[in-house]
Subunit: 260 residues, 2 copies
């Protein structure tokens, strides 16, 4: 499947309903983002949750109530320009749709949060294997025993992604991803799934399992799905997120986000 569209062209395809699949590997080199939309009454507490948990919830953009055009993608419309959305009511998952124009209103505040897809390209360039890309799968994600700092009604366990690699590659991966502090940054753990409360590495809570080869160890990064668990931890009348893996594609270059 062709994936190397420009971000603008890709968003156009999504807007026309012609791209409703995950965005892994799409528009390579451009920053992708998790989306959270919620009523302005709880916007402060959710922003505070993100500020207090910057590793899983790095803030790329926050829009004014009712606004749909993000700073990081001029001309885009957050109501239509993602491939697939999930609507939640009172914290319970509802419909999965390609367009949320019918439910979004002037009281809704939109948050765009960093996504680990941004550093996978940099890992590959640095010679670090990204097994989920090699196998054409969604990355493995796990709910851990680590608890985020709550804010107002929002709480969540830390969710992580896992990529298996050799120990010397884990060191290189730490160097490479340290630069990407707005897309989860350095790993949060290496080596022992049980330390994170993960019982079976073969059975991720989200995404697909991938092969771990002899001599490889699991490397864990904070994951943006944490923000979805947080927003659905409160019984908000309405909340909207992207569907897992179906991210917003911005005009921002990954390399422009790095700290050095």
């Amino acid at each position: 499947m062709k994936k190397d569209f420009s971000p603008r062209r890709l968003r156009e395809l999504m807007r026309n309903g012609e791209w409703a699949v995950p965005t892994t590997g799409a528009a390579p080199g451009y920053v992708q983002a998790n989306l959270v939309m919620l009523p302005q009454d709880e916007a402060f507490n959710f922003l505070l949750f993100c500020v207090r948990n910057p590793k899983p919830c790095p803030i790329l953009d926050v829009l004014e109530p009712g606004q749909v055009e993000p700073t990081i993608a001029p001309g885009a419309d957050l109501r239509t320009d993602l491939p697939l959305y999930r609507v939640f009511r009172k914290g319970e998952p509802g419909e999965e749709v390609k367009d949320i124009s019918a439910v979004f209103d002037d009281t809704m505040v939109s948050f765009l949060l960093g996504c680990s897809f941004s550093f996978e390209d940099a890992l590959v360039k640095a010679g670090v294997p990204v097994r989920n890309l090699e196998e054409g799968k969604n990355v493995s994600m796990y709910i851990t025993n680590r608890v985020c700092r709550p804010a107002g009604p929002f709480s969540a366990p830390l969710v992580v992604t896992m990529r298996p690699m050799r120990p010397e590659e884990a060191i290189r991966a730490t160097q490479v991803t340290t630069r990407f502090h707005l897309t989860h940054g350095a790993p949060i753990h290496v080596g022992s799934p049980e330390d994170l409360g993960i019982k079976d590495i073969e059975q991720p809570d989200f995404g697909d399992p991938v092969e771990t080869r002899p001599g490889e160890i699991p490397v864990f990064w904070a994951c943006g799905v944490t923000s979805t668990l947080a927003v659905t931890s409160a019984p908000l009348p309405l909340a909207i997120t992207h569907s897992p893996g179906h991210m917003f594609v911005s005009d921002l270059l990954d390399d422009h986000l790095t700290i050095l």
Copy 2:
């Protein structure tokens, strides 16, 4: 004057009214912070202002309404444990006091923002001159022609600190301060005050002028005073900040804040 107290002891002296002078060089190695307190009604917009302007307003801690004990200094009380406070009403400066217990109430939200005092120690250790420390003065601060991204009623020009040094020291200073992304990070400009709209480098808008020696160039960092201009840009019924240079001293080590 003795300055190498522990943060806890220093806060105790402040609480007892026995330390009401600037905190430059005090409790070396520990993170100091700008303080902003404002009514919860505008807390979302102010938090958003900080998130949108992370270089001048890096967020270290945000407390629940009415709370006074920050995460970064267990046991501390933000109403008494700073050397000197400034109270603002409808955006206008009011009294300067050593204790704000009489004006702080349950509706107030406290923000602690990073301060460049945290990286001065690292600059000195790296062999970079910090002229204001050498001369025993407050750092030179200037209001620039750069405009911060506004949020709700809050807007401000970018305020910068300036330290003169030789060009090769400016390169080293960039390397050193890049690590300190939560205390303003890398410089925002080097060399040309006029590019920032600064007419006379000898006349800072805040703080003291310092000597620039032959062969030295001015190096500019984003400054937390930006947050004071932002909070007083809105006619809030009540706002409280630290007095310039009279910072909150936390239990957090500077070295624990660095990104690498």
